[in-house]
């Protein structure tokens, strides 16, 4: 094979898949997508918890921390925490219990998620490279700490393409209270073509779920359809003149797809048709759970209709008063309030997908950009009520096909601070996610400014320990 061919990718490997996804989206005949290996999952729901969820209060059970409550951290060097204040150790604020058949330890912070413990694969030894929200969040989603790199959803869109042409490939459901910090950068396609950008659906207020879905001013339906017809005729005449051309044909097709999207989007977002039982289970009737429940239910409906990747945000931007998991001041209040919003809906989503036979083919990711410190953010002789950012040890979980479920992978030290057994950087996490989708992370690349870019940069090991 000539080097050029290799770089152009047009004929080999996944490049073919990426190209066929373009064709799919552009309205050409659907082609079977070739994966690197047999995939376990074909779709993704990524739940992003913004601000930093405390591992020691949720999924990382550390009895020693309770014993050490009020003691100081015995460390060789002062921890390099964001605000530079290292207080005394603080016991977990929520009690841990063993759950399900697996006996997984989960705290009372998430009583509903606890009921699906046996579906979860928890990684307790995550490590991040930044303790600053935005770079850390960028890395959580794109593998890089900097602006401008494509996020995981875009890579998945690029690698696997779409299952439907009526809806976007990659849909984003922001927190109803506001956009996450760095707003649109969180679903950027970076240097990948624009079609791989996440399309945010409105999760609050009235109006259409996506922008520009319908004319900004009222136009008579008759005028609208006549206009489309005329446009088609004129474009056809134009193409007759210029000669058949893929580019021009694709653009004509894009208008037909747009019309289909105008039907599909209102349909998928009208959750009124769901049964009362479903609505109740997702928490649509509860004041606290209504918003996120709606997003979770919408996520399921989007998957059912062929959306490849749905990203949900729990939490908006940083600052005061807090609307995310950034519990610097008062963990109990902060995490208590945030968990209440999402606990029931997330559990309902997992149960619902299981009941519908979708969970074996759907990867659910539950991640936070970093964790929180076992010591408090306070004077060095005080047990404060808030915790600072912790990049050196935190927990995330996955659920879906191909995973050993009901297990904990890796571990932090006795107090839940640093990852000491099988530390997992984001590269490994991303490599594993791609693997679970049938993609070899080293082969999914895109040439940009001199470099074959990858989600996993030059790193990444698939975590075989969590795979079946």
């Amino acid at each position: 094979m000539k080097r050029r061919d290799f770089l152009n990718w047009s004929t080999h490997g996944l490049g073919g898949a990426a190209i066929s996804s373009l064709m799919l989206e552009d309205g050409f005949a659907s082609q079977a997508l070739k994966s690197h290996h047999i995939p376990h999952n074909k779709q993704v729901i990524h739940i992003c918890l913004c601000g930093g969820v405390s591992q020691v209060d949720s999924f990382d059970y550390k009895p020693k921390l309770k014993e050490m409550h009020g003691k100081s951290l015995q460390a060789d060097e002062k921890p390099d925490v964001f605000f530079g204040r290292v207080g005394l150790l603080r016991s977990n604020d929520w009690e841990f219990k063993q759950r399900g058949q697996s006996g997984m330890w989960i705290s009372d912070l998430f009583p509903h998620i606890s009921t699906v413990a046996d579906e979860l694969t928890v990684i307790n030894s995550m490590v991040a490279e930044s303790s600053s929200h935005t770079p850390a969040t960028f890395q959580e989603s794109s593998g890089f700490r900097l602006n401008g790199f494509p996020v995981m959803g875009s890579w998945v869109s690029y690698g696997l393409g779409n299952l439907t042409s009526d809806l976007p490939t990659y849909v984003v459901l922001p927190d109803s209270r506001g956009m996450p910090a760095g707003s649109t950068s969180n679903w950027t396609n970076g240097f990948l073509p624009a079609r791989h950008q996440g399309v945010p659906f409105r999760t609050s207020g009235d109006g259409n779920a996506i922008s520009n879905l319908f004319p900004a001013e009222k136009i008579e339906p008759m005028v609208e359809s006549n206009s489309r017809n005329l446009l088609k005729k004129m474009n056809d005449l134009h193409m007759k003149e210029t000669g058949t051309n893929d580019t021009l044909a694709a653009r004509i097709a894009s208008y037909e797809l747009a019309a289909r999207m105008q039907l599909a989007v209102p349909e998928v977002t009208s959750i009124e048709g769901e049964t009362e039982r479903t609505r109740e289970s997702y928490g649509l009737n509860g004041k606290e759970t209504r918003d996120f429940g709606r997003s979770c239910l919408l996520a399921r409906r989007l998957l059912e209709r062929g959306v490849r990747h749905v990203q949900l945000f729990s939490g908006g931007s940083f600052g005061s008063p807090r609307i995310n998991w950034d519990g610097h001041e008062d963990m109990k209040r902060n995490h208590g309030r945030e968990a209440l919003r999402i606990d029931q809906p997330v559990a309902a989503l997992i149960k619902d997908l299981r009941a519908r036979g979708m969970l074996d083919e759907t990867l659910i990711l539950f991640t936070s950009e970093f964790g929180r410190t076992p010591f408090t953010q306070s004077a060095s002789d005080k047990v404060g009520t808030g915790r600072d950012h912790n990049q050196v040890g935190f927990s995330v979980w996955l659920a879906g096909g191909g995973l050993k479920s009901g297990i904990n992978y890796g571990a932090t030290d006795d107090i839940g601070y640093k990852s000491v057994i099988d530390p997992v950087p984001w590269y490994d996490f991303h490599a594993t996610v791609l693997h679970l989708l049938g993609i070899d992370h080293e082969r999914l690349s895109y040439y940009h400014n001199g470099i074959q870019r990858r989600l996993t940069n030059v790193h990444g090991n698939v975590l075989s320990g969590i795979l079946t």
Binding site: F6, N212, M234
Partner: protein, 906 residues
């Protein structure tokens, strides 16, 4: 060699900003973490032995000196217009292919217009390359390309995304430099080191905006480790941007290890990092420069002429108005401020005093919305009923809470004021302390006051009824609340501030007041109507009265004054966003890129394998000052015999002219980039650029004048078979307009394009601070200011444009040397449905009616001429006439703007 082996070096192709992590982490957690790393290294080392030949050495093609190649012989001599064609045709003939015939005039004209100035041609335009290159729009068009490469944005990005209100000065510098055809070597040197090469030249300082216009994380954690890592990330951005932009080399790939593909040792990355080590960013003052005296005199003269002329017409109009209506201007005010020359009351003695920089300019009171206001002396009469009246122009309609005119007690505790947008955005209201006399008038949103002076008045009756008027007509509804007794000597009038004794945020008005009047009685609606244009003649009225030739002269005076203003503003001390140099630290090589493993000290220097007469060893010590380091870097990069320097830029030009570079990876001429399709042509162009004294315009001219460029897009089955990607240039490839060009074209054909050049950009977003972070919500504001070319859009990184983004306008976080062009349903939806396109469709229809009268066929014909530069064909005529009869002209205009013919070039 098989794919499997390649995989391993592939792992290391990527710049590794993150390897440092391993070493950082190791410290915290003991040595065992290193093990996988070592194994990996071992594997890679083993494999590198077998792939060693698969990388570029110093004999790589792009590093060789540019030799002007001989012009190849060809058979088809008639086809050739200049040497470019010999190179292209030689290849085609070798493959047995013919070039496509020359494009027709219409295609060529459209091609050249969009290519060179980025605007659609008028119906009767012809393809004059020289004219287009001389047009100021040329700079606007090509600056966009350059700003893509420079990763130019006007906010910081990252979490806080603060706006950089002075960043646009760099954008204007690029436009200006291109329009002046600044030699490319100088263009380059100024962007790298202008501030130290010519420290007294404001433009040279502004040019360094190039280095710092990328995203920047201003949020620094308290931890020293993270800060060091972040600074190294910034250095990687700088080294990467400079080396890719000017050298087409990915030097930043050598941050953690020797470059895996190009002959760039890790040490040389740090040499360049050292050369740029003093670069920091921010607003800085540029000194006053030049001598404004002559310009000022010239401006005064023009101003006087203009005023005299206007005065005559104004008097004429007023006289007519008077005789037409009644011999009564309405009741006499107790005070009138005309702000023509000063702040004096023209009737009584309630004179004003300028505070906080308020000033008279061009016959109006200028208020900056920050500190400027006018306060009068106390008024010596009791007042209960009153009328406040003013003619005002606002600088923007999104401002909140500033007052045009306020009557306040001397202690500022009680006031009645004409306030804009305080409680309700974009609406007028009667401001008062604690809203005690304030209710909504329920008037309409203001939409004109930004473009023209607008009359506003509030009438306060003694019984507490309050009525507002706008342009002489009632504004919303009268309401009843309380009234105030202002007692003699205890109150005063303010202009530009709601109330108070000193400027404060959200009190201040940003705009101009042409004149204002105060009455000690409540005027009736009739009296308001009478006085509202009593002595006031609007710009529109005035222009309407001019004869065509007078209009032209007046317009030229105004243009000249605006030009002088621009020149004058450049001579003033002002703030720009540019490099703010600081003492450059001693740079160390960082082992595996880790800021915690310092290697040897490194001096500023270049890349040795880039040959040329200027050594990559700058001969500086590690502690040399920033100025020396950057000057040397700029000189080394722009050396006349730096083989990459010329090749990279001519290849970029080619890319923008043909949609594809001779090397398709325009930021990378190294091993990982593409190889040139026409290596000799590339060298000929590079040699020619030097010959042409680095004039880019000369190169445009040669390229656009070639037969290669002038080919039609006609297909050729034989050629298609052999070369479907048209690498050999056997035809013109059909191309879609870039996002900004689509928007600019829509504005042009609908007659709405505001050609105002330069200055701060328009803001098509609402910005607000949400918990410390700036949020930019896209809006679609109306008005001439927002109808400027898209290059003048304030490019806040967080603002995703509803029309431009789906059409592949890139994320300005990273250099975008090649824009992707995608065709998606979301793009179709935005072209069909955004309020902008719908509004422009309406304006387009209005224009057709105005220019073609009521006949549908004439309207359609005009529409086709403007949009497509042709008349409708027979088969279209009937179809479209029927359509317009049923659906209206606006619907047709929307279809035209959406059509392929409108946004594709062939």
């Amino acid at each position: 060699m098989g794919l499997e082996n390649r995989k391993y070096y592939h792992i290391f192709t990527v710049t590794d900003s993150t390897l440092m992590f391993d070493s950082f982490y190791k410290k915290n957690n003991g040595p065992f973490l290193c093990v996988p790393w070592l194994i990996l290294l071992l594997v890679v080392n083993l494999n590198l032995r077998t792939v060693a030949e698969e990388k570029a050495g110093s004999d790589w093609w792009s590093l060789q000196q540019v030799e002007r190649p001989e012009i190849p012989e060809i058979k088809n001599k008639e086809w050739v217009r200049n040497p470019i064609d010999n190179f292209v045709l030689a290849k085609l003939e070798k493959e047995g292919l013919d070039p496509a015939p020359e494009a027709d005039d219409r295609s060529l004209t459209r091609r050249l217009y969009f290519d060179l100035i980025g605007l659609p041609p008028g119906p009767d335009s012809s393809p004059e390359i020289d004219e287009l290159l001389a047009s100021p729009h040329y700079g606007e068009r090509w600056a966009r390309h350059w700003l893509d490469v420079a990763r130019y944005g006007e906010s910081n990005g990252f979490e806080y995304d603060q706006l950089r209100p002075n960043a646009w000065t760099y954008r204007d510098w690029v436009i200006d430099a291109l329009n002046k055809d600044m030699p490319y070597d100088r263009f380059t040197r100024l962007q790298i080191a202008g501030d130290v090469i010519e420290p007294n030249n404001p433009d040279a300082i502004i040019a360094t905006g190039f280095l710092v216009c990328g995203a920047f994380d201003g949020l620094k954690p308290s931890g020293d480790k993270q800060r060091k890592i972040m600074r190294q990330d910034e250095m990687e951005d700088l080294v990467g941007t400079v080396s890719q932009t000017f050298l087409g080399l990915t030097v930043h790939c050598a941050r953690c290890h020797d470059h895996k593909f190009d002959p760039v040792p890790q040490k040389e990355y740090y040499q360049m990092a050292s050369a740029l080590g003093g670069v920091h960013r921010g607003d800085r003052d540029v000194p006053a420069s030049g001598n404004p005296t002559n310009l000022k005199q010239k401006k005064d003269l023009l101003q006087k002429r203009l005023e005299n002329g206007d005065q005559k017409i104004r008097e004429l109009i007023l006289k007519e108005n008077k005789s037409a209506k009644r011999n009564n201007e309405g009741p006499q005010p107790i005070a009138r401020w005309t702000f023509d020359k000063d702040l004096k009351d023209q009737i009584g003695n309630i004179h004003g005093k300028a505070l906080g920089g308020a000033r008279i300019n061009d016959g109006a009171l200028e208020l900056d919305g920050k500190s400027a206001y006018v306060m009068t002396v106390p008024i010596n009469r009791n007042m209960k009923a009153k009328t406040l009246q003013a003619w005002v122009k606002l600088n923007n309609l999104d401002q909140r809470g500033g007052a045009v005119m306020s009557m306040q007690s001397n202690d500022a505790k009680t006031f009645d004021a004409i306030v804009f947008g305080e409680r309700e955005p974009k609406r007028w209201m009667a401001g008062s302390e604690g809203y005690s006399r304030t209710q909504s008038f329920g008037g309409e949103e203001e939409n004109r006051a930004k473009d023209e002076f607008t009359h506003v008045a509030i009438v306060y009756k003694a019984d507490g009824h309050i009525t507002a008027y706008r342009n002489g007509k009632p504004y919303g509804k009268t309401y009843k609340s309380g009234s105030v007794d202002f007692s003699s000597g205890n109150y005063q009038v303010l202009f530009g501030m709601r109330h108070g004794t000193k400027a404060g945020s959200n009190l201040m008005l940003s705009g101009k007041i042409d004149r204002a009047q105060l009455y000690d009685k409540a005027l009736t609606a009739e009296e308001i109507a009478m006085t509202s244009n009593g002595n006031f003649v609007s710009e529109a009225e005035l222009v309407a009265r001019l004869r065509p030739e007078q209009k032209i002269v007046r317009e030229s005076w105004k243009t000249e004054i605006a030009k002088i203003d621009k020149e004058l503003s450049k001579m003033k001390k002002r703030k720009v966003y540019a490099v703010r140099p600081s003492k450059a630290p001693v740079t160390h090589l960082l082992v595996r890129g880790s800021p915690f493993e310092l290697g040897d000290e490194v001096s500023a220097g270049g890349v040795q394998s880039v040959t040329g007469s200027i050594s990559s060893n700058f001969g500086l010590g590690p502690d040399a000052p920033d100025a020396e380091r950057r000057k040397k870097l700029a000189t080394w990069i722009s050396a006349p015999d730096n083989p990459l320097f010329a090749r990279v830029i001519v290849n970029r030009l080619w890319h923008y002219h043909f949609g594809k570079g001779l090397v398709q990876t325009t930021n990378d001429l190294g091993f990982n980039g593409g190889k040139p399709s026409h290596p000799k042509l590339l060298d000929w162009l590079a040699a020619e650029l030097k010959e042409q004294k680095w004039s880019l315009k000369a190169m445009h001219k040669i390229i656009c004048d070639s037969a290669t460029y002038r080919q039609s897009s006609q297909e050729n089955p034989k050629a298609l078979e052999k070369d479907s990607d048209n690498v050999l240039l056997w035809k013109r490839s059909i191309s879609r307009l870039e996002a900004e060009l689509i928007r600019d074209s829509i504005l042009t054909v609908s007659g709405q394009l505001n050609k105002k050049m330069g200055g701060p950009g328009y803001r098509d977003f609402k910005m607000y601070n949400h918990k410390g972070s700036w949020v930019y919500d896209a809006i679609d504001p109306e008005g001439a200011e927002f109808n400027r070319r898209s290059i003048y859009r304030t490019w806040a990184r967080g603002n995703v444009h509803p029309l431009l983004a789906p059409l592949d306008c890139p994320d300005p976080s990273a250099s975008a040397p090649v824009r992707s062009i995608t065709t998606t349903p979301l793009g179709a939806l935005s072209m069909m449905n955004t309020s902008f396109v719908l509004r422009m469709s309406r304006k387009f229809a209005d224009r057709l009616k105005a220019e073609a009268g009521n006949d549908i066929n004439a309207q359609v014909k005009r529409g086709f001429e403007l949009a497509f530069m042709r008349e409708p064909k027979e088969e279209e005529k009937k179809l479209i006439e029927d359509f317009v009869k049923k659906n209206g002209l606006t619907a047709l205009c929307r279809v035209l703007l959406n059509s392929n013919e409108f946004i594709y070039l062939n």
